[in-house]
C-alpha cells in the first residue's frame, strides 16, 4: 500500500457534508454561522455542526471548521463560546488566517490550528514563523508550485495542504479589497462581490505596442483549478492534504469531486501509479459539473496568460443533477428529491458511492400522491424505478438535451 494524502472536500451544508463523505472525502471543511468567509453560504448551526461531526467521525472522516475571516475586536469577543462548542464536538481542527484569532484560540482551546490560504503563506520562512505561532498545518497560497510546496514541507516540518480543484481567487488571498471600496462589503470578512469576474474595458491609448486602443475583456478572472493530472506529483511532493474549493457549490459538485479524487487516490494507494486511461475518464467526470475552463494554475509553472478565463458564464456541463435519492425502497422505488426536469422514459444515471455509474430508464415517474408524473420539476419528490445498489444521498444525473 502506498501512502496518499487526505482528500479534503467542502461542506457548504449538512447534506453536502454527507454527500462528500459518502462519496469518499476523508475530511470536510465547513463554516459556522460566524467567523468564516462564505457569508452567503448556508453555514452550519450548532445542531447541524453536531450532527455533521457525528456523521463524519462515525465514518472515520475529519471535520475542520473555518474561522478564516480577519476579525475585528468585537467579533473576537464572541469567539470563545464557539470554541467551547468545537471542543465539545471534538472538531479536528480550525482553519484560521488572523493572528488575533490564533492567539484567542490558543488562550481558550487546545484545538489544532491550520493556517488558511487567506494568510497567503508562500515560503519556508513564513511557514516557520507561523509554526512558532502554534500552527500545525499550512494551507499554501495558490501561487505555490508543487516543487516549492515540497521544499516548504521538508524545511518547515509542518503538514502541508494544497488546493487541487476549484475556483481560484485571482489575487494573493487576503490581498484584495475591491469589494470593501466599491460595494462597502469587507471581502476579508466574507463580503467579496467577485469584481474580478466582471468584464472591464481597458484603455490602451497610452500604451505602445497595444493592438487596440480599447479592449473589452474579462481580464482578471481566473480559470478553475483542476489538478487530477498532477495528483502523482502531489503525492510525490508529500502533500498531506489535497483540498477542493467550493462550499457554495452544489451537491452534484460535492459528490463528483469527492468520488473522482477519492477513486484516483485509491488507485494510487493500491498500485503506486495512476493510469492515464483513468485520468481521461476522471477528467470527463469533472467536466460534468459546472465549471469554468480548467487550468493547472501554478502547480507546475507560474500561472500564465492561459490561466485567465475570458468568458463570463461557466461552461454548460453535459450533465445536470436530476435529483438526490432520499429513500430506497428495495424492489419498489427510489424516492428522489427533484433538482431538474426530466420525463418518463428519460435515461438517467445513478452515481453510486463506490462503484461505476449505473444507467437506468425512468420507466415510471410517480408523484407522492400516486398520480402519474409527465414531467418532473424541481421542488417535488418523485418515485422513480428501483435501482439495485442505490443508497440514500446518491446523486442521479441526466444528460442535457442539446
Amino acid at each position: 500500500m502506498h501512502s496518499v494524502p487526505e482528500l479534503l472536500a467542502p461542506a457548504g451544508s449538512l447534506e453536502k457534508l454527507k454527500v462528500a463523505i459518502l462519496y469518499g472525502a476523508n475530511a470536510v471543511y465547513l463554516g459556522g454561522q460566524k467567523f468564516g468567509l462564505r457569508t452567503a453560504a448556508d453555514n452550519f448551526t450548532s445542531a447541524e455542526l453536531e450532527e455533521g461531526a457525528i456523521f463524519a467521525h462515525e465514518r472515520g472522516a475529519k471535520v475542520y471548521v473555518v474561522l478564516n475571516s480577519f476579525l475585528h475586536d468585537s467579533d473576537l469577543t464572541e469567539l470563545p463560546i464557539f470554541l467551547e462548542l468545537l471542543d465539545e464536538l471534538k472538531i479536528d481542527a480550525v482553519i484560521v488566517s488572523d493572528l488575533g484569532v490564533i492567539e484567542t484560540i490558543k488562550q481558550y482551546s487546545d484545538i489544532e490550528i491550520h493556517l488558511s490560504t487567506q494568510a497567503s503563506c508562500l515560503n519556508t520562512e513564513a511557514a516557520l514563523l507561523w509554526k512558532e505561532m502554534g500552527v500545525k498545518r499550512i494551507v499554501l497560497g495558490r501561487e505555490i508550485s508543487l516543487a516549492d510546496a515540497k521544499e516548504i514541507r521538508e524545511a518547515s516540518g509542518l503538514e502541508i495542504e494544497m488546493f487541487i480543484h476549484g475556483s481560484m481567487c485571482m489575487a494573493y488571498s487576503g490581498n484584495c479589497v475591491i469589494s470593501n471600496y466599491t460595494q462597502g462589503r469587507d471581502s476579508n470578512r466574507g463580503g467579496c462581490a467577485h469584481s474580478c469576474r466582471f468584464e472591464y474595458s481597458l484603455d490602451f491609448n497610452n500604451i505602445e505596442n497595444a493592438s487596440n486602443e480599447e479592449v473589452k475583456a474579462y481580464f482578471m478572472s481566473s480559470k478553475d483549478l483542476e489538478g487530477i493530472r498532477a495528483l502523482p506529483e502531489f503525492i510525490e511532493a508529500g502533500i498531506d492534504s489535497v483540498k477542493v474549493e467550493g462550499r457554495m457549490k452544489s451537491h452534484h459538485y460535492a459528490g463528483t469531486i469527492s468520488k473522482v479524487y477519492s477513486d484516483a487516490l485509491a488507485q494510487y494507494q493500491k498500485s503506486g501509479d495512476i493510469i492515464s486511461k483513468n485520468i481521461l475518464e476522471w477528467e470527463e467526470e469533472l467536466r460534468k459539473i459546472t465549471h469554468r475552463d480548467y487550468t493547472l494554475g501554478s502547480l507546475k509553472e507560474p500561472a500564465g496568460a492561459d490561466s485567465i478565463y475570458t468568458e463570463r458564464e461557466h461552461e454548460t456541463p453535459d450533465y445536470v443533477v436530476a435529483g438526490i435519492v432520499l429513500e430506497v425502497v428495495e424492489g419498489s422505488h427510489l424516492l428522489v428529491e427533484v433538482r431538474s426536469a426530466f420525463y418518463p422514459g428519460s435515461t438517467l444515471e445513478l452515481v453510486p458511492f463506490n462503484d461505476p455509474c449505473i444507467e437506468f430508464k425512468a420507466d415510471f415517474l410517480t408523484e407522492t400522491d400516486g398520480s402519474k408524473c409527465e414531467k418532473s420539476r424541481p421542488g417535488i419528490l418523485l418515485k422513480t424505478p428501483y435501482v439495485k445498489g442505490a443508497e440514500q444521498w446518491n446523486i442521479i444525473r441526466a444528460k442535457v438535451m442539446q
Binding site: G100, S145, N205, A217, G304, L335
Partner: protein, 393 residues
C-alpha cells in the same frame, strides 16, 4: 508628526528634503511592489540620498513564493546596508529572514492587510521583536480604533495619509497578454517594462480603476485616492507618529510641500482645504466609520436559517389538500402522530398543525419517523417547500 514618502530620483529626494520630509522610502525594483530603482543603481542612490540628510527605508513589501524568495536571497547580498536606516516588510517570511540575518536592522512592519484587532497587532509587535521601530496600520481602521490602537500598542504608528489605495495584488500578468503576442516569451513583463492604464466595468458604478503591471504582477487601485490631509489636527490629536504620503502617480510635485506643511503644523495651516488643490478624486475611506460588515445580514435569507431548538426537519414536497412531505433531520426529535407542529415558511409566515396522519412513501401509516427518513403528514394551506418544521412547545 514625521512625514515619509517615496522617492525614485535624486531631484525628488532634494525636493522632499526641502519640503521637510524626514524619511524616504527607496524602492529597489526587485523588492518593492512599485519600486523603480534598479538593483545596480540602488546602493549608490542610497548614498546620494543619505548625503542630503534623509533617513532611508528599504522597501521590501512584495509577497514572495518560495522560488522568488530564493532568488531574492541571492540578490539581497548585493545590498549595502550602511546607508539604510530601516527595512519595511509585509511578507512574514521576509520578517523572519530579517530577524535571523540582519538582527540589528530596525524593522517597520506593514500590517495594512487584514489585522483589524488589537490582540493580533500586539502579537505581531511581539513577533517582530526589539528591533521593531514602527507598525504601519490599515487605512480601513476608523479613527476611533486607530487612536485606541496607537495608545495600546506603545510603538510609533504610521498610516497612509494621502495617496493611491491598493485594491488588488496578483502575481499574474493580466495586462501584457493584450499587448504582446501571447506565444511570445516576452509576454512575461521584462524587468524594466511596466504598463499603466485604466479599466472600467459596466457592472461597477466606479469608473477608471488605475491598473499597473510590472515584474511583480498586476495591481489595481481605487478610482479615488485616500486623502486625510484636511484632517491633520485629528491625526495629531490621536498621536499618529508617522504620516505617509505617496504622490508617485501625480505629476504636480509642488503638492508635497503643501502636504508636509499641513502635517507638520496642523494648527498653523490656512482654512483653505487642501483637497481643492489635489489633482485626483479623493475619499476619506473608512476614517470616520467602517461599516463594511453591515450588509452581510442581507446576503442571507434569515428566515430559512435553522433555529435549532425544537427543529424537526424540512418540508420537501407539498401536495395540495393531500399531504406535506417532511424530511426528518433532528437526531433528538422524531415526527409522531399527535405532535403539535409549528411550520415556518421561507417568506416568514408561521402555521400550526397537529399531526393526524403519518405515512411512508408507500402510503402505509406509520407511528413515527426519525432522522434521515421521509414521512408524509396531513396538509395545511399556505406552506411551501423549504418550510422549516418545529415541535410546538
Amino acid at each position: 508628526m514625521i512625514v515619509c514618502t517615496y522617492v525614485d530620483h535624486l531631484d525628488e529626494a532634494i525636493l522632499a528634503k526641502e519640503a521637510g520630509v524626514n524619511e524616504v522610502i527607496l524602492g529597489n525594483m526587485l523588492f518593492s511592489r512599485f519600486g523603480k530603482i534598479s538593483p545596480k543603481r540602488y546602493s549608490e542612490f542610497c548614498q546620494e540620498v543619505k548625503k542630503l540628510g534623509l533617513r532611508i527605508v528599504f522597501d521590501w513589501d512584495i509577497l514572495m513564493t518560495e522560488k522568488v524568495f530564493q532568488e531574492r536571497k541571492t540578490e539581497i547580498k548585493n545590498i549595502n546596508w550602511d546607508c539604510i536606516d530601516a527595512i519595511r516588510v509585509q511578507d512574514p517570511g521576509a520578517l523572519y529572514w530579517i530577524k535571523s540575518n540582519l538582527p540589528d536592522m530596525p524593522i517597520q512592519l506593514l500590517t495594512e492587510t487584514g489585522n483589524h484587532n488589537l490582540i493580533g497587532l500586539k502579537k505581531w509587535k511581539e513577533i517582530a521583536g526589539p528591533k521593531l521601530e514602527r507598525m504601519i496600520l490599515s487605512i480601513e481602521l476608523p479613527k476611533q480604533k486607530l487612536s485606541e490602537y496607537i495608545e495600546a500598542l506603545e510603538i510609533p504608528v504610521e498610516i497612509l495619509v494621502a495617496g493611491r489605495i491598493l485594491l488588488f495584488y496578483t502575481p499574474r500578468n493580466l495586462i501584457s497578454p493584450y499587448i504582446l503576442d501571447h506565444d511570445d516569451d516576452k509576454t512575461k513583463a521584462a524587468m524594466e517594462s511596466s504598463y499603466e492604464l485604466e479599466g472600467s466595468s459596466e457592472e461597477s458604478p466606479h469608473k477608471g480603476f488605475p491598473l499597473l503591471e510590472n515584474l511583480h504582477g498586476t495591481f489595481m487601485f481605487n478610482t479615488k485616492d485616500q486623502f486625510l490631509l484636511d484632517h491633520c489636527v485629528e491625526l495629531q490629536e490621536m498621536k499618529l507618529s508617522v504620516a505617509r504620503v505617496d504622490f508617485r502617480h501625480i505629476k504636480d510635485s509642488s503638492f508635497l510641500v503643501k502636504a508636509v506643511n499641513a502635517l507638520r503644523s496642523p494648527l498653523g495651516t490656512s482654512l483653505h482645504p487642501l483637497k481643492d488643490d489635489y489633482p485626483n478624486p479623493i475619499i476619506r475611506g473608512f476614517f470616520h466609520v467602517n461599516k463594511s460588515d453591515v450588509l452581510f445580514k442581507k446576503l442571507k435569507n434569515q428566515r430559512t436559517q435553522r433555529n435549532d431548538v425544537n427543529y424537526i426537519g424540512d418540508i420537501l414536497d407539498v401536495k395540495k389538500k393531500k399531504h406535506l412531505g417532511v424530511m426528518v433531520k433532528s437526531k433528538e426529535i422524531a415526527l409522531e402522530v399527535g405532535e403539535n407542529l409549528i411550520l415556518k415558511t421561507p417568506d416568514g409566515k408561521e402555521k400550526s398543525l397537529v399531526v393526524t396522519e403519518l405515512k411512508n412513501s408507500n402510503g402505509e401509516s406509520i407511528e413515527r419517523a426519525s432522522i434521515n427518513s421521509i414521512a408524509f403528514i396531513n396538509h395545511v394551506s399556505g406552506v411551501s417547500v423549504k418550510t422549516r418544521v418545529y415541535r410546538q412547545e
